[in-house]
Symmetry: C2
Subunit: 313 residues, 2 copies
């Protein structure tokens, strides 16, 4: 009897690398976390990735699990054919023009698949989480930026050169704030976690280094500044999602990332705002739901994409 | 030898019905135009459609051409399975909740396929015009509103309940103008032909009933108001397209509709504006081109969609 297949998935983030071992049905066998050193040059980051994979592999081999493929999710625009990171990403200063697939395959002699982190997260939620049984879904992550993933006909849609699905860089204000991407009025300038904190600080100069979590807590205590800031946050998330509803008329919109953990009331209020703004026909069949896999979605999705690629090769 | 197949296509517009006979390769055999009576109740409009088809059919039969299928493009959200117009459209007061396919099939005993007019136009350009050989393309029509069509993997993408691709109702201004669709700051409120005329009138109270064509003419004569208005128009078209570039990273963006006929300089300036705003990786592989089929795109596309449906049945 052939051994069952296991996978390693890895999700490179601004502060941490999350990674783990799962089976081909997305059942988590073990998971790990380490620092990502995102401010360092590419070879340092790549070494951190290698160390992380080696750790997971060591664990798997101890358990006598055969690892069939390794999936890596990374910020930036990835050419998935070659596993090469082409585009830069504002949170990683030097992390661009990096071969990811080739050096990892030569080190571990296991097939490696690399993709954009938001794509991996969307695929994870689609296969194993809040997007199960969907044909068409939109996934957004509300965090330091706004990441996006698009599922069309049960496939990730990445654009013709893998540089699409940049949903956080849809402009919601044609003459608004300059974005780090070079654009004007990008959605993430208004609805990301830092935007929320900035709004709070504008209204309360003594706020210091307040976190989104603290703002949500103050909101629950009926603090007036926090209420104003959260209401604005809901309005701005809703404004962007309404456009995505009119463009994609998806079955489901899945909201992940740190802010999505505020609770079901937050998702419900976002949905109410979308309903106010979106076209009736486009909205009426859409469900808006929180992500289910939390911070596992990225590495599980990367693992699943690697498995899909393994099967098609 | 079996007779060759011919098709009838029909494009229902706010003022006119454009229709014609073509072969299955999109070669125009004859074309017609009649009034659409868009302010009238549905049965009057449907009668106009029937008369138009009867005229084209009469012509085809005289030529001994066998009509295999009839395609109808109409404003609004069409359930393409049943050929039923579900959603309303602001330009057609009463034109909603109308069975299109069933009454036409029962009258003519020829298979009928109905779809949204912007979808039909996009499909026409994709098969026979400026989108040839594209895998992924975005098509917009700049006219009374902004219509949109999305080609993904050589197929029309309509959303999960046929209510997507409403690209003119992507918001470019989260706290901007109220739109007829119920939304706020919709792109077509800023970049359609009426928006351009309104901008002109705001700057020149004596403008009367000036047309977009006249504004373009004054622009060519270096009129300062027209220059300001056209520059704003280019900026607003570019602002919306930049978002679509970041979302779809398409191979090609095809610009049709009345305004697109201003000339290549207009398309070039739009492209320059998009380049300023879109993400570098997402933009660099995109071509921005004018539509090629003019006002034939809609009815030719509807005919081609009917033929596609005929072949798959």
């Amino acid at each position: 009897m052939k051994n069952a297949s296991y996978l390693i998935g890895l999700d490179l983030g601004g502060t941490a690398i999350k990674y783990g071992v799962c089976d081909v049905d997305g059942v988590v066998k073990n998971e790990f976390i380490s620092e990502s050193n995102s401010d360092e040059p590419p070879d340092i980051i790549l070494n951190k990735i290698k160390e992380s994979i080696a750790e997971a592999l060591y664990y798997a081999r101890n358990e006598k699990w055969e690892i069939s493929a390794i999936g890596v999710g990374t910020p930036g625009c990835v050419d998935i054919e070659s596993g090469y990171l082409r585009g830069s990403t504002p949170n990683f200063k030097f992390w661009k023009d990096v071969a990811i697939k080739r050096p990892l395959e030569s080190q571990f002699s296991i097939p490696v698949f690399a993709d954009n982190d938001a794509n991996a997260m969307a695929y994870g939620e689609f296969l194993f989480g809040a997007g199960k049984d969907c044909k068409n879904a939109i996934c957004i992550t509300l965090g330091t930026g706004i990441g996006g993933g698009i599922i069309i006909n049960q496939q990730l849609f990445r654009g013709s050169k893998y540089a699409g699905a940049e949903l956080g860089h849809m402009s919601v204000c044609h003459n608004g704030k300059k974005c780090r991407c070079g654009g004007i009025g990008c959605w993430e300038q208004y609805a990301s976690a830092p935007a929320m904190v900035e709004n709070y600080r504008t209204l309360n100069a003594d706020a210091g280094s307040i976190t989104p979590r603290e703002i949500f807590k103050q909101y629950q205590n009926n603090d007036s500044v926090a209420t104003q800031v959260i209401n604005e946050e809901i309005k701005m998330i809703g404004a962007g999602l309404a456009s995505l509803v009119n463009i994609f008329n998806p079955q489901r919109i899945i909201i992940g990332g740190g802010l999505s953990e505020a609770g079901q009331w937050f998702i419900d209020q976002i949905a109410a705002e979308v309903e106010k703004r979106a076209m009736q026909e486009s909205f009426k069949s859409v469900e808006i739901v929180p992500a289910k896999l939390g911070n596992k979605a990225g590495w599980l999705g990367a693992a699943a994409l690697a498995w899909k690629q393994y099967l098609s090769d």
